[in-house]
Symmetry: C2
Subunit: 340 residues, 2 copies
DNA sequence: CCTCCGTCTGACACCGGTGTCATAATATCA
DNA sequence: TGATATTATGACACCGGTGTCAGACGGAGG
């Protein structure tokens, strides 16, 4: 009772004294097979440690029970450091997949060179999840291509007008608003924003708009000089803050488009002898783990990554099933700590 | 020229005016096909946006060009927080896989309930990488089972006597030694260790031994009462440190088995009014991102995750190829920051 | 002119499952 | 008892590639 190599359904058929067809049916608990037969087949399958060959099964059924995750790294793309926020998302997406009985193929893609999204074409995955800041060249055109090929995919990030892809995102505008309201409550008077205020990065831009609109509604302007550009890294946030200080911009409230930027800002402020939150209140965005470790602990706008992962997976599965799916907006939440 | 559904090699054969066999050969650049024919086939394939069906290909060739990663979470297994060190490893493993032309299936496994390692049995992956602290029930017996099934796998973590699995690990003993030597240089006199000093967790135990052996070689003892147990979380490190302080243990040097533990310790020390590194020097292990953010910045023993990922993947691929492979030990490196 | 060889191609079996169809065995009812 | 419905099973085509084998074709050599 030891076939060489891995057991196939034919081996089981042989030992259970039935046909291979019946084995296949029995193992999938088809109501067509007799209770006693089913029991015997399962018994033998267990003894032989049999597992269905996914390749054969997928080939026949034309679906893979697998999703692919494309994670786009920041343009800085250093070897070791990946944006912790996205790693968190990866964790929740993996769990959401497992819960639905799907496997997850993970692939890191560098944003510059053109990326590989042929997982569905090659029948390795039933659908694709795109994760990353969509702030790089020819992203749009690639998405358009995926759409025209009828590839099933969902994106994390901001909804963009004129793009027909399906997205799940945090309510970035509302998040920016939360930050502004919290700072306004403290009667701060001079505000700065660090991030990307162009519409290059839709997420950052939405956070910026929510922030600025709330301020202007209170009669507070946010002129060009009080906005500094930065990408989502600590270094970038550090340098942006230093240049604000070097230009003698006066401010007592700082909103950073991401926690990494905020952490860089804290470092620059500390070096400049500014007290946080005494001289300057700082608010970040994401609520990464480091936000609670740093001193002073960072007040930030939290994105619900657990829910985000679930929605990405659920929406994608519904899309694959052919059901109607709409963009999803998740509510942000302000986490108040020491920095503001 | 628009077949409905996805194009197959038969479609290409039709349009290129050759047989399906020739298409298959041409696309894999077999030297058997005529240069002109190959060109024509590629041309058509490109126009039809053809991609080889991986399921069919894998089924025939009996290999999947895919590896599976099983990530075991800490027993605390809270929904959102995953040990950042392992997330880093995940990043480097993904990259190493991509470099070798392999895909990576990722799966988080909770350690308590029994885990799923049937990726190879079901032909979804050619081999498996196990990642996590191997400090839980029936881990050993499951490994033994994998071995007896002739499953190809490598483990991250300490080599354990009497276990025949293939491992890649950091030189934890050497790392503990580095920590001890650095503290000795500063003429610290009263040492404590926080982690797991039983052989429950092989990695932590090796770090402990390297640390203790180096101290005893200098005539310094490390009695039972100067050792506190903790698992690799911030909370656990915090509580362990508090209990040391509550028991009135005197110490001016603290070695934590992981950065998360060290971060918890820093918090407890700060609350107790102890100055770091003035009153107590603290050294961690791993060099996670948060180690550089926290104040005071954490001195720690770095594990080279990039290299680790590469070695895990390379060793596994060699094992699959049937080549002789041996356990790999990677050199740790002391990163000196402010805390010691 | 025939043989032999190298080059290139097509026919076909095969990987291991799944779904359809035909049919044997048994139960149900008039 | 014969007709019909129900249940359980096996035979077989099929998914889309890959590997083997046989053979067509053209040129070289005797």
């Amino acid at each position: 009772m030891k076939p060489k190599g891995k057991a196939t359904s034919f081996d089981i058929a042989h030992f259970a004294g039935v046909s291979q067809s019946t084995v296949s049916r029995a193992l999938r608990n088809s109501p067509l097979v007799n209770e006693e037969t089913r029991r015997r087949v399962w018994e033998v399958a267990k003894q032989l440690n049999y597992k269905v060959d996914k390749n054969a099964s997928n080939l026949r059924t034309q679906q893979s029970s697998t999703l692919a995750l494309l994670l786009f790294e920041d343009p800085t793309g250093d070897e070791s450091q990946i944006n912790p926020f996205f790693l968190n998302m990866l964790g929740s997406i993996t769990r959401a997949c497992a819960k639905q009985g799907y496997d997850l193929l993970v692939s890191f893609q560098s944003t510059s060179q053109d990326w590989r999204a042929d997982y569905e074409d090659s029948h390795r995955a039933d659908g694709i999840i795109l994760l990353g800041y969509g702030d790089y060249m020819d992203y749009q055109s690639r998405l358009q291509q995926l759409l025209s090929q009828d590839t099933k995919f969902v994106c994390w990030g901001a909804t963009v007008d004129g793009r027909d892809d399906l997205t799940v995102s945090c309510d970035n505008y509302g998040g920016g608003k939360l930050a502004a309201e919290h700072l306004l409550q403290q009667n701060r008077s001079q505000y700065v924003f660090i991030g990307d205020a162009s519409d290059h990065s839709p997420e950052f831009f939405a956070r910026f708009k929510g922030f600025r609109d709330t301020l202007t509604a209170q009669g507070l302007a946010l002129p060009e000089r009080q906005i500094a550009n930065a990408i989502s890294t600590e270094e970038s946030g550090y340098h942006a803050t230093r240049s604000l200080l070097a230009n003698n911009i006066q401010f007592d409230a700082l909103f950073a488009a991401s926690d990494l930027i905020a952490i860089g800002a804290l470092k620059a402020l500390k070096e400049a002898g500014k007290d946080v939150p005494g001289d300057v209140a700082v608010i970040g965005f994401d609520n990464i783990a480091a936000a609670s470790f740093i001193s002073p602990a960072l007040t930030t706008v939290q994105q619900n990554t657990t829910l985000a992962g679930q929605m990405l997976v659920n929406n994608l599965l519904n899309l694959i099933k052919g059901e109607a799916v709409t963009d999803t907006l998740l509510p942000p939440k302000l986490i108040v700590r020491k920095s503001a």
